[in-house]
């Protein structure tokens, strides 16, 4: 048991979760109070002692599933295989009685795909969990085409299975069936609710399939190898440029508490700033009321000026996600800056400050930026040179010694002229100019990336590949 837990902790640390020694000890003690057969309780006990941040829950869950899915019989949780088979036979009996067909009973293997689809639909319709699990098993066995030792990722199998099941079509059919049930039209509200309900069940089914594939892969390759391939970065370490849709969702979720925390931290920093030097004039003035004795010393409290911010972001395809996140983050903490203006460009440039004004919902504003801003000049390929030139021409006069200019992008200029002199000019007028690059440092200045040309004229070029780096930068900025 000790070895087992120790191995698990190593795996968690590999996945990037900080598990301290005391937490490890707590976990060891905790599992002694929990019946080991109760898998859920076991999981919660481990989570309560070792995972102290909700954002890490998913990573923990993955590691747990992999690590404990195939551990010798004493740890393997009765999967209910026999139950499922029995239940399956029962179902079959019913079906046979129902429509008189079904030549041989026995196991699921003899079903045609159509029948499986039918069963699945029935299971989804009734929300029958056990049935869904059985079907997930069957579907994976049948459609995924898994071969031992084949070096393919789980996503490939998942894709294959789902393609064969056509869950999108299933949703439509389910909706129709429920319409039939009511006998006529559903009100829009009901329609929406039904839709969400089925969507939820289908999601659940997908999760079952994923779990099944994972189980099989672990059986094939062993838990250690699987844990390595399944190791997913924590939300704050996900790279903006390569985030999948799922990861994007998680990122968005992670962003909100992060901005709140950041804002609270900055506000606190401002308030609890260090005491300044003695304010001589003020002290003398106050000493008058004590008859000239400087009984009440006065200090100069530093009042750090809130910077004015100009964000100039490339929103062409490759870096769009990064620009979006940075804009969201900056606007979520508007209060920390005296003024925020934002500009977006591809090869043309447009000011989008207006979109954020009077708009409570930042996501909405970002959407408008992406759809309404006039950013294409010639061909819709990034042209930093032209965009900067126009920016300077139009808005250069607004840059003053209080302004901090943030330039966002990968500086992949498609071999256009760099016009780096513009950045130099900007720097002379502005308080600070920073460049944030979402690409890994090792890619800089390769191919058509000319971040070096611009970088020499800025006060710093920062690598901002993930939320963690972005957060660190913004904190420094405000």
């Amino acid at each position: 048991m000790l070895d087992l837990l120790a191995g698990f902790v190593v795996e968690l640390r590999n996945a990037g979760l900080p598990v301290s020694l005391t937490e490890n000890l707590d976990a060891m003690e905790a599992v002694q109070h929990i019946p080991i057969e109760d898998r859920d309780a076991f999981k919660y006990a481990l989570a309560a002692t070792m995972v102290k941040n909700n954002a890490h829950w998913r990573a923990f869950e993955t590691v747990f599933e992999v690590y404990f899915s195939m551990r010798g019989p004493e740890y393997k949780i009765a999967d209910g295989d026999t139950d499922l088979d029995e239940m399956w036979r029962e179902m079959q009996e019913q079906m046979r009685q129902g429509d008189g067909k079904g030549t041989q009973g026995g196991s699921m293997d003899n079903l045609t795909p159509e029948e499986i689809a039918q069963m699945l639909m029935a299971a989804l319709m009734n929300g029958d969990q056990a049935m869904m699990r059985a079907l997930a098993k069957q579907a994976v066995q049948r459609f995924a085409g898994m071969e031992p030792g084949r070096p393919v990722g789980g996503t490939y199998y998942l894709y294959r299975t789902l393609r064969n099941l056509d869950l999108e079509g299933m949703l439509e059919k389910l909706m129709e069936a429920s319409r039939d049930q009511v006998g006529g039209e559903l009100t829009p509200l009901e329609e929406r609710l039904e839709h969400d309900e089925y969507n939820d069940r289908i999601e659940q089914f997908k999760k079952e399939i994923e779990a099944e594939i994972r189980r099989r892969l672990v059986a094939d390759r062993g838990a250690e190898a699987m844990a390595k391939t399944l190791r997913k970065p924590l939300p704050e370490d996900v790279e903006f440029m390569h985030a999948s849709r799922d990861e994007m969702q998680n990122l968005k979720k992670a962003l909100q508490p992060l901005t709140r925390k950041l804002a609270a931290r900055l506000a606190r920093k401002r308030r609890h700033g260090r005491k300044g030097p003695l304010d001589f004039r003020n002290t003398v003035r106050h000493s008058l009321s004590y008859g000239g004795v400087p009984a009440e010393p006065k200090f100069k409290y530093p009042r750090p000026a809130k910077p004015e911010l100009m964000v100039v972001a490339d929103i062409s395809g490759s870096v769009a996600a990064f620009a979006r996140f940075t804009l969201m983050l900056v606007y979520a903490m508007q209060g920390q800056f005296s003024k925020v203006r934002s500009f977006v460009f591809i090869d043309g440039i447009d000011e989008v400050t207006e979109y954020f004004k009077g708009e409570e919902d930042i996501a909405n504003a970002i959407h408008r930026v992406n759809t309404e801003a006039d950013v294409v000049w010639v061909d819709g390929h990034s042209d930093y040179g032209h965009a900067f030139e126009v920016f300077f021409e139009r808005y250069g006069k607004d840059i003053n010694s209080k302004t901090t200019v943030l330039l966002l992008g990968d500086a992949r200029n498609n071999y256009h002229a760099s016009q780096a002199w513009v950045v130099k000019e900007i720097r002379q007028k502005a308080r600070k100019v920073f460049w944030l690059n979402p690409e890994p440092r090792s890619y800089w200045n390769t191919g058509d990336s000319i971040v070096g040309d611009y970088g020499t004229h800025t006060d710093g070029v920062f690598e901002c590949r993930n939320l963690r780096q972005l957060e660190a930068f913004v904190e420094k900025l405000a």
């Binding site: 301290s20 005391t22 937490e23 707590d26 003690e29 905790a30 109070h33 929990i34 109760d38 859920d40 309780a41 919660y44 006990a45 989570a47 309560a48 002692t49 995972v51 102290k52 941040n53 909700n54 829950w57 009100t187 829009p188 509200l189 329609e191 929406r192 609710l193 969400d196 309900e197 939820d200 968005k252 508490p257 709140r260 925390k261 609270a264 931290r265 606190r268 609890h272 409570e360 919902d361 996501a363 909405n364």
Partner: protein, 288 residues
């Protein structure tokens, strides 16, 4: 020391008997907290029953609930203990002539002159207590350190008196709305429990237990609508307490099954931002 609970299931049933519906995670962690004698750090969105959990546990174990509400500027004298200096002064004045210095000195720093504040009170209590430290994320990082000794050793050190150790280990719950990252030191000493919005089934159960006079059908509908709304990208998702308020309203209005118009008219109970209301109304195609 005798344990309060025998099994996870017992915690669950007990909580249910005081109208708190716990899921596996909540019951499991509460059980472990008792067994390991460790505090529980409860985190999660506002209005998901974090504070209620502590209250319900106290209710269920027939313990007294001692609550420390945290806020910025909370300090030792409000959280731990304070010397009752007025009483001390009186004491000194009362025997100005008789006592020698050392007598008085020993006397005025005795327990008689100590004003106990929530933390000390929880530790010195003879009867069973549950200590709730609410919204711990509101205190400054430095103040957090105040809590460390009591959380790990269940003791309080008073320079003049020495160390006061707990007579019995109380159940301790800390709640946090996650407005800032708590320090590692604090997290390490606690069991962690994240309380999220309940799933649909549980929410329905909650509505059924908490709102008298609600029909099964209505509760189901409410839970479904709330789930759909939570899936939207909103500024503030409806919390459980708001769901309950909404259910109460609907019951008061005598509504048996919600239609689009009624939902729209009462949406402002569930959502508190105009943009959110507009969005939800549109998404649920109530506007059509």
């Amino acid at each position: 020391m005798a344990h309060r609970f025998e099994s996870v299931q017992e915690v669950r049933d007990g909580l249910k008997s005081v109208n708190y519906l716990a899921d596996d995670g909540i019951a499991g962690v509460a059980f472990l907290a008792d067994r390991l004698g460790k505090p529980v750090l409860v985190e999660g969105p506002a209005g998901t029953g974090k504070t209620q959990l502590a209250k319900s546990i106290a209710d269920m174990t027939n313990a007294r609930l001692i609550r420390l509400q945290c806020y910025e500027g909370l300090d030792e004298s409000k959280a731990l203990y304070e010397w009752n200096y007025k009483k001390q002064l009186l004491r000194i004045q009362a025997d100005r002539n008789s006592d020698s210095w050392s007598d008085i000195h020993d006397d005025i720093f005795g327990t008689d002159f100590l004003l106990t504040r929530p933390l000390l009170e929880a530790i010195t209590a003879e009867d069973p207590v549950v200590l709730l430290i609410d919204e711990v994320d509101r205190v400054e990082v430095e103040t957090e350190a105040l809590l460390l000794e009591i959380l790990s050793e269940y003791q309080v050190s008073i320079p003049e008196l020495g160390t006061i150790t707990a007579k019995q280990i109380p159940l301790v719950f800390l709640t946090s709305n996650n407005t800032r990252e708590l320090s590692e030191a604090l997290k390490r000493r606690c069991l962690f429990l994240h309380v999220d919005y309940p799933d649909m089934e549980r929410e329905k159960e909650i509505v059924l237990t908490k709102v008298p006079g609600v029909s099964e059908n209505l509760a189901d509908q409410i839970a479904r609508i709330v789930r759909s709304i939570r899936q939207l990208d909103l500024k503030k998702s409806p919390s459980v307490s708001e769901t309950i308020d909404w259910a109460r309203t609907l019951v008061l209005l005598g509504i048996e099954s919600i239609d689009a118009q009624q939902a729209k008219d009462t949406l402002h109970i569930l959502l508190k931002y105009q943009t959110d209301i507009a969005k939800a109304a549109k998404e649920l195609s109530i506007d059509k």
